[in-house]
């Protein structure tokens, strides 16, 4: 019988911690506040924004949306971010990405105060993750993956973890986080030869391919722990992960579902960062 590693339980615990911290902060007259900077009217951004605002309200964080024109210049956006940096009533800043091509994202990333950078965009915060320093802000998705494994007591020390993704938002930071947990880490990607050889011999497989149900039973063994970070939609328009959950889940040791797994936890990680930022002022 395999375990289904649901995000729900972890979300509950993280939100309880957040609420407890907010009680303490409110006693000091601090109301944790997240500034969301959105350019234009991309429907995905708007949906994500709604979800964040709802979650903020649920725990007692104030969410403020700063809507900007899609054609805003890099210069103007820098000015906006600098005003948020200087505004003592704002604790965290989240800028929806990717930014339009005419904006110099590198400069914007460096402009966000490292102390308010709850989505880990500033290179100074990213470099800390490279070193394995998890005390500050970390990219939310890989952090959520680690939290879900920690919550369900998946042994990470000495475990061989195969990560299928080498991006700056998932694979690279996750590999560094797991080194800090004493895992042996293999980073695979589109140029990896014989991916199955790696996944079959691993204790834990974290996949973030973005290909619906691409990963099937032959990639795993009965002891495999499968963390599915992929978010795709199948031919019927139903949200799925990288893994063929229906067929794989009975045959592995443990697996995260999609939806309801890692992805369901990322917003809570973001909110916990807002509270951390408010505590650090």
């Amino acid at each position: 019988m395999s375990s289904i590693l649901k995000g729900k339980e972890v979300v509950k615990r993280v939100k309880e911690d957040i609420k407890r911290d907010i009680v303490d902060l409110n006693e000091k007259d601090i109301e944790p506040t997240l500034a969301i900077v959105r350019l234009g009217e991309n429907p995905d951004d708007i949906a994500y924004e709604k979800s964040i605002l709802k979650n903020c309200e649920g725990v007692g964080i104030e969410g403020k949306v700063y809507k900007k024109d899609l054609n805003i210049s890099t210069e103007e956006l820098i000015n906006s971010v600098e005003r948020l940096n200087e505004d003592d009533s704002i604790h965290g800043i989240l800028i929806f990405r990717p930014l339009p091509k005419h904006i110099d994202e590198d400069i914007i990333a460096k402009t966000i105060s490292p102390l308010k950078d709850v989505d880990c965009m500033n290179p100074l915060n990213l470099e800390k993750i490279f070193e394995g320093d998890m005390k500050g802000f970390a990219p939310c998705t890989p952090k959520a993956a680690v939290m879900i494994m920690d919550h369900y007591d998946i042994p990470l020390k000495g475990a061989h973890v195969v990560i299928i993704n080498r991006s700056m938002v998932v694979g690279r930071p996750l590999s560094m986080m797991l080194l800090g947990k004493d895992s042996t880490v293999t980073i695979c990607h589109s140029k990896t030869k014989d991916l199955k050889k790696f996944t079959n011999s691993a204790d834990i497989i974290v996949t973030a391919l973005g290909r619906s149900k691409y990963i099937t039973n032959e990639y795993f063994n009965k002891e495999s722990v499968v963390i599915d970070v992929g978010i795709s939609f199948d031919e019927k328009g139903k949200m799925t992960g990288d893994v063929d959950f229906e067929n794989v889940s009975p045959n592995v040791n443990a697996i995260t579902p999609v939806p309801g797994g890692v992805g369901s936890l990322t917003t809570s990680v973001l909110l916990s960062h807002v509270v951390l930022a408010a505590k650090n002022i």
Copy 2:
């Protein structure tokens, strides 16, 4: 018959490139100059300094030593570094590490201008390596390891590379560099279970353990390419690598010697960074 991947040939090529660049720079009245900041009189530092200065002279780089008292305060060292940052006649700054414990190394690292940071100490430069951006300065040892593999046409794309080291000066940056070369990368360390299993199934093994002759034939197969970054001394006081070179070298596909392998190349990498800094002004 296995190939011995000597550093000498690579050093020769790198130095030829450096000399050619320096001719161009001299024509523009630019004399590439490296500032070496040394605290105290540590014999290892002094030996390294001598070697660097000799190498600088050999290619036409000016090396200037800034000797500081071992008890210098963080504040005073910051001031010294800032003066070097502002000095237009200085192109590269190298600070010998580790710094004494009373110095805040993080602040010093951030103080060095990213444009003069030839030893890749500033977090802004390290973060670029995390992203796999190799256009700027990179930590010299892992860069030397990659250069030696490139020079001898070791295929990296799709190759499985096992790295035995997870430090910020070797293993972590090297893993990111190799992802950029499309290798599949496994990072092993002291907590890895069954290290032999990993090394035996790899195409390339890069080791930086610092244990003299610890790695023996049973870790490799006939196709293994072995890059030995370790520097130790055996019971007779002779410099050796991690690998038992004498016994292993006939039984693998290719191997770097110690001394005369990766380590012999790092100073040339440093000098190439000084030239790069001078070209970028």
